[in-house]
Amino acid sequence: MLRYSLIRVGQAVPTLVFLVLMTFLVVRLAPGDPAYALAGDNASPQYIEQIRHQYGLGQPLLGQLGAYFRRLFSGDLGMSYSFQEPVTTVISGRIGASLQLVACGLLLGIGGGTLLGAYASRAAGTVREAVLNVVGLTLYSIPIFWLGLLLVYFLAIQAHWLPAGGQYSFPRPTGAAAVGDGLRHLVLPTVALALYTFPVYYRLTRARMSAVMTEEYIRTARAIGFGERRVFFRHGLRNALLPVLTMAGLTLGQSLGGALLTEAVFSWPGLGTLMAGAIGQRDLPLIMGVFEVVAVAVVLATIATDVLYAVVDPRVRLT
């Protein structure tokens, strides 16, 4: 088990190095001078030169790369131009908001999708199942960005029920009011993100449940005389959830990507808006830092899923 885990981690190293290298090259080779974006429209050439020197932008590309890898290994992602703070400080200040959104969105999306999928498999052939299928397929086809804008337009701008964006109101409420205020701000982005993951789990669980419920051990369980509820949940759903588990690991990574878009729509102060701002400012260390943190998170989530799957299904370790 340990050996398997170590091998999986080892396999991830080249992936990560490649990702870092790609990020570095793509960003550096793009046209445009970051010193200009930093110094501003009215700055004198001397001031721009000073900035360029300060951030080592004058060094040759290879020198910049070597220095970058050295610092990366010591956990230093460099200084953010636009925040004038270490990239790690900037990211750690924002990652919480992103994780909160991803956690809530995934919980609602995966939980809702799985349960409704299971429900649909029970209701096979009924109008209810047909309705759920149409809803699922429609949501599956809608871009998350557009869906978010629709939610904002109807629920925030027209109805004034929920805030259109942000993580809290200003001036900041305190005490119990702050909790309610935070929850209200969380609703729309969570729903948008959940609607993005929901159809995948709905379809997966429905298909798996339909297959599992025809297995022989289900028939056996029924023959023994277990109640229908126990057969459905303990014998049926539990087995159907294996592929859902695999999928969840992958979705965690994808959701971070989805959350970046969701954050942009809802002005959610997480890594997504951070990334958007960093791109606008050509804040190279920050762009690379966010990208690398997200990449590492995706790779780690994939490894965790593999390992978890091996725990659940011993056959995996043997291959």
Partner: protein, 519 residues
């Protein structure tokens, strides 16, 4: 069935969360939330240029002198001042009893220290202090600045909108000023005090009850930073913010005008700001005055204004801004005349070959607030009428700035910037080596006139010099002035007291101390 119960319960949770929310927070009557599509890196404008601070700093700090919305120089920390007969010594008398937000008294030592520190750190405001040979503080309420040579623009340069706020010596002295924590948690002497700053997200401020200009009417002021203009507009429509400090994008103005509870008003830019087209004088055929004149004749700024800005900008036809000092209304650029332009181009030796004489490139940038991208498309049509082909290229702002200012890789470009109120500002754009002179225009007479005007203490000499400069530039056409800039500000209709609505005129732009809400 259990599932049904769960599904019902799950939907109920979501629906309850929606329905119990009631209406969204619309700010209290004594609070104001301002949206901004820039985010400041720090809250200290003295050591680094950061455009977002334009919108915030006057609420936190005070200056020695500043510009009011009327474009006149007003005393801020300085109660009054005297200039010596030789024009070399300025004596400023400070207000007494002014306190920093941490309770310590603000004295002339702080002003002196700030000036020296800006010079030492080569901050953005160092240009204003370039001619200062000595700063002294003979007593706690007096600051004396000595100049190496007379500079008629000195007060204007001190009042310039960026990079010269007075900082507390007791907080900064002896520290690394660029990394001092007070850059993000400022100690100021302005109408508001910062209570929290989350870079990239928001700044929260509360009223400074002891402010020397009187306690602000707004008790709580917040700035929220948005990554896109559309997100800021959405927040205004849902009344989560009450104002967009750097104006909404043009595309959203018609929607906002129709929106309930939102007012859109036009306000002149302060200091006066113009938009122009720059010609690359190092390239053929733009180095030919006849070609530049013909292009100017082919242009119809009125049409550009209508198509790109909904007719909201002012077109003067002159080279300089009408609201600036020493403006010369007779320094007019060539009038729109397509026939004359065609004739002039024939004469210059660029006959039409299958409809086209030659092709140029227009370089713009994509930020939607400026309209630089859209202008290119209109220009293309206007120049086609005189047989000039135009390739339109638009870039992200930093790439654009690099192409124009560093590489000088453009034929025609969009540009905009302050034109006054001090006419010496124009030197940035048309004096040899001016830091915004991307056209690389160089005229010895223009340079001489700028130098003479700066040194002269005679207002009539200066006025003559500046008028002559405008006449020369209008004929030489290194650039073509399109319009005078203004803003279409959108705000929550319950609020009033913004700087452009203030009748006394001494309130600086972006100062929210007088804003109040009715009801």
């Amino acid at each position: 069935m259990k599932f049904k119960a769960f599904v019902v319960a799950a939907s109920a949770i979501v629906l309850t969360a929606c329905s119990t929310s009631g209406s969204t927070n619309a700010g209290g009557s004594d609070s104001l939330v301002v949206g901004l599509t820039y985010a400041p890196k720090t809250l200290n404008p003295d050591y680094a240029y950061d455009p977002a601070n334009y919108f915030i700093m006057d609420n936190i700090y005070s200056r020695l002198v500043n510009y009011g919305y009327d474009d006149e120089v007003h005393g801020d920390l300085a109660r009054n001042w005297q200039k010596s007969a030789d024009g070399l010594t300025y004596t400023f008398h400070l207000r007494s009893g002014v306190k920093w937000s941490d309770g310590k008294p603000l004295t002339s030592a702080d002003v002196m220290w700030t000036a020296k520190s800006i010079i030492k750190e080569k901050g953005y405001g160092a240009a204003a202090l370039a001619g200062v040979s000595a700063v002294t503080a003979p007593d706690a309420q007096t600051v004396v600045m000595k100049l190496a040579q007379p500079n008629s623009s000195f007060l204007d340069q001190l009042a310039q909108r960026y990079g010269w706020v007075v900082l507390p010596q007791h907080v900064f002295d002896g520290t690394d000023v660029t990394s001092n924590p007070a850059n993000k948690k400022p100690v100021g002497s302005g109408p508001f005090v910062v209570t929290s700053f989350t870079p990239g997200s928001h700044v929260e401020l509360k009223a400074n009850p002891g402010y020397f200009g009187g306690a602000p009417k707004t008790k709580a002021l917040s700035f929220r930073f948005f990554s896109s203009p559309d997100a800021a507009v959405t927040a205004l429509q849902s009344h989560e913010i009450q104002f967009i400090a750097n104006a909404p994008n043009y595309a959203s103005v018609p929607t906002l005008k129709k929106a309930a509870g939102i007012t859109v008003e036009t306000a002149a830019a302060t200091p006066p700001t113009d938009v122009w087209l720059g010609f690359n004088l190092a390239r053929k055929p733009l180095n030919d005055l006849k070609v530049r004149t013909a292009i100017a004749q082919a242009l119809d700024p009125g049409e550009i204004n209508d198509l790109v800005y909904g007719g909201t900008k002012k077109v003067s036809g002159t080279v300089y801004d009408p609201s600036s000092r020493d403006y010369d209304a007779s320094a007019r650029q060539p009038a729109h005349d397509v026939a004359a332009a065609n004739a002039l181009l024939d004469q210059a030796g660029y006959p039409k070959k299958s409809g086209t004489r030659f092709s140029l490139t227009y370089t713009g940038f994509t930020a939607s607030l400026a309209g630089a991208q859209q202008i290119g498309e209109v220009l293309k049509q206007q120049l086609a009428k005189v047989g000039i082909g135009l390739k339109v290229e638009n870039y992200d702002f930093s790439i654009f700035a690099d192409k124009i200012m560093q590489q000088h890789d453009f034929d025609i470009t969009w540009s905009g910037g302050p034109h006054g109120p001090d006419p010496q500002t124009f030197a940035n754009y048309v004096k040899t080596g001016g830091n915004r002179n991307a056209m690389r225009y160089s005229d010895p007479e223009v340079d001489r006139l700028f130098d003479e005007a700066a040194k002269s203490s005679d207002a009539s000499v200066r006025s003559q010099d500046y008028r002559k400069i405008q006449q020369i530039v209008a004929k030489d056409l290194p650039r073509y002035t399109l319009f005078q800039w203004n803003y279409q500000f959108a705000y929550d209709s319950r609020y009033s007291g913004f700087w452009w609505q203030n009748t006394t005129g001494d309130l600086p732009a972006d100062d929210y101390a007088q804003v109040t809400a009715s009801g």
